[in-house]
Each structure stands twice: as C-alpha cells, then as structure tokens.
C-alpha cells in the first residue's frame, strides 16, 4: 500500500470502503511513514476542531423578531375579508336601463306632479306612466329581476 492510497483512506475517513486487512495495512503504513503519520494527526485535529468550533451568538432580539412576524401573520389571517364587486359591462348597462325606465315611469305619475315644482311638472306631463296593465307590470318586474340577478352573478374579488 503506497502513500497515495493511504492518504485517500485518511481523507475518506469513516467512508473508506476497506476490508479489515486493507485498513490494518493502511494503519501500519501510517505508523511507519512520516508523511502519512502527519496526515493522520492533522486529519484528526481537523475533525475534533470542527466539532469544537465555538458558536457565534445569534442576535439577542432574534426570538422576539420571529414571534412578532408570526403575530403579524396571524393578524392578517384573521382580518375581515373585504370583497370588491367586479361589475361586468352588461350588468351596469342593465342597471342603468332599469333605473332610467323607472325614472321615466315615475316622472309621468301624479305623485311626481304633487312633489315637483309646477313648471317641471308641466314639462313632464305625459312623459311616461307607471305600468298599469299586467303586461307592463310583467316587463318592469322582469327588468328589475334581471338587474338583481346581475348583481348576484357579479364575480367577487377578495382583497
């Protein structure tokens, strides 16, 4: 067994794949060889020195910092969720149309002429009328129903 082989064994340490005979031969060589003997001593000093290296002290507020971060995460997790509605164009348009029709219908009613100034009431006379037939009522109710369905169907976005 030559020096190169023995030095490989020394550097492989516990992972050297050797039979008992080969290990004993390497140890015999290291005892008799100044170079390999020094390598064994240095290697042992390195291993023990690594195990004994002092531990640098962590920052004194490390624990508090971590606990504060965890507490902040909890606050975020337990905060009330606010939903925004995303209004699709068709829902908005339908809503505006329904509101407009309702306004026109109301402008033509007697109730409006009672509360509105006379000049404005004259302007809107005959402008529209509240639905009086079942068909008109059905159309208005259908429009309102579509509007409400549009509101409910609008996708929600959490923040």
């Amino acid at each position: 067994m030559n020096c190169a082989h023995v030095l490989n064994v020394i550097d492989a340490g516990p992972f050297a794949n050797l039979t008992r005979e080969h290990r004993e031969a390497a140890m015999r060589h290291a005892r008799d060889c100044q170079t390999c003997g020094a390598a064994v001593e240095t290697s042992a000093a390195i291993v023990s020195g690594l195990a004994a290296l002092p531990r640098p002290a962590p920052p004194p507020d490390l624990e508090a910092q971590v606990l504060a971060r965890i507490a902040r995460m909890d606050e975020v997790r337990h905060a009330p969720v606010v939903h925004d509605r995303e209004w699709p164009a068709w829902t908005t348009g339908l809503g505006a149309l329904t509101a407009g029709l309702t306004m026109i219908a109301w402008l033509g009613t007697e109730a409006f002429t009672v509360v509105a100034p006379p000049r404005l009431a004259r302007l809107t006379t005959g402008f529209g009328a509240m639905p009086s037939t079942p068909g008109e009522m059905f159309l208005l109710a259908g429009g309102l129903l579509l509007y409400v369905l549009g509101l409910l169907a609008a996708p929600r976005r959490s923040r």
Binding site: G13, L53, P56, P58
Partner: protein, 189 residues
C-alpha cells in the same frame, strides 16, 4: 427525536407560541452558525434564520416527528441560504461540481471570524471559509452539527454519494491547508 422535542412540537401544533419560543431558544445558536457560515454576513444570516423559523412554524404539519427536529430545520435554512445567495448572484445547482464552484459572497472568512476569539479556532475557520461552498456546508453539517450523510443529502438536495465526495474533498482541502502550518510548528485546533 427526543421525547422533549416531540412534546414541544405537539404543543406548537396546538398553537402554543411559548413552546415555539422554547424551540427557537434551543436551536437558534446552531442555526445562526450554519446560516452565517453559508452567507457570511450577520444581517443576511439573521434574515435567513428568521425566515427559517417562520417557515418552520407555518409548515410544522410537514415535519415528521419520528425524525430529529434540527436536521429538518437545518434543511429549511440551507435552502433559504441558497436562495439568498442566488438572489445575490451566486448560482447554486444540485450537483457536486456546481456546489463546489459556487462563488462566495463575502470576504475570506467574513464576519464569522470576527466572532471567534480563540486563535486556533480562527485558523480553522479561515481554512473552512476558504473551502468551496458545497464542501464547506457538508463539512459543517457533518462535523459541527453532527447530521448524518442522509440528512445532509436531503438538506442539500443531492445523493448520499455526493455528500461523501464533498466530505472527502473538504478533508483533503483542509489537510492541504493546515498540514503545512503543522509542519512549521504552528498550532492546529
């Protein structure tokens, strides 16, 4: 894993913050040393350790309490330190050759050396700090943190054979640096 650790982890899983603080006090020194050895900057090491503890807390359900706790925690810290290095331009790949060729972020021994008062230990630190990244991490985890080859392999994302190769190279490089000093009669750790 010790019964004490298992009990503490069970308490943490039930939401006990004091139990988690206890775990932190137990492992923060080891973990900070590991992070500092990898990133070589106290501020960076603190960032890595904080992130590692927070992640350990939020992912505690993934920890297998039949295994020791520290290697699991160390594997989180190693990956976060690799991400930290990657974010600062160092490329870490999961191959031995690439791990060895990772450029180091700091100076020769960085801030680590300044935290060590003992001259012999500083000599060894300097030699360890000069090792390529993969060898340094493997040697640190094996000899200092007493993790097994399999645990180191999991932490680094490499095979056990690769870890053995890294340890072999580390010992050879350290011997190559420290033996001439011993020959000159200078003390070794």
């Amino acid at each position: 894993v010790s019964d004490a650790d298992r009990g503490i982890v069970a308490d943490v899983r039930r939401g006990n913050r004091d139990a988690f603080a206890h775990l932190m006090r137990r492992y923060q020194g080891r973990l900070f040393g590991l992070a500092l050895m990898m990133v070589r900057e106290p501020a960076g090491a603190e960032e890595v350790v904080q992130d590692a503890f927070v992640r350990a807390f939020t992912h505690m359900e993934r920890y297998d309490d039949r295994q020791p706790f520290y290697p699991w925690l160390a594997s989180i810290a190693v990956r976060l330190a690799q991400n930290w290095l990657r974010a600062r331009g160092s490329i870490v790949r999961h191959e031995a050759a690439s791990l060895d060729s990772v450029p180091d972020p700091g100076g020769p021994a960085g801030a680590l050396e300044t935290l060590i008062a003992d001259q012999d230990s500083r000599t060894l630190w300097r030699a360890v700090a000069a090792l390529p990244s993969g060898e340094r991490t493997a040697a640190f985890l094996y000899y200092r943190d007493e993790m097994s080859v399999q645990q180191i392999a999991r932490a680094l994302g490499v095979t056990s054979g690769t870890v053995k190769t890294l340890l072999f190279r580390a010992r050879r490089h350290l011997r190559g640096r420290l033996e001439p000093m011993a020959m000159r009669g200078e003390s070794l750790p």
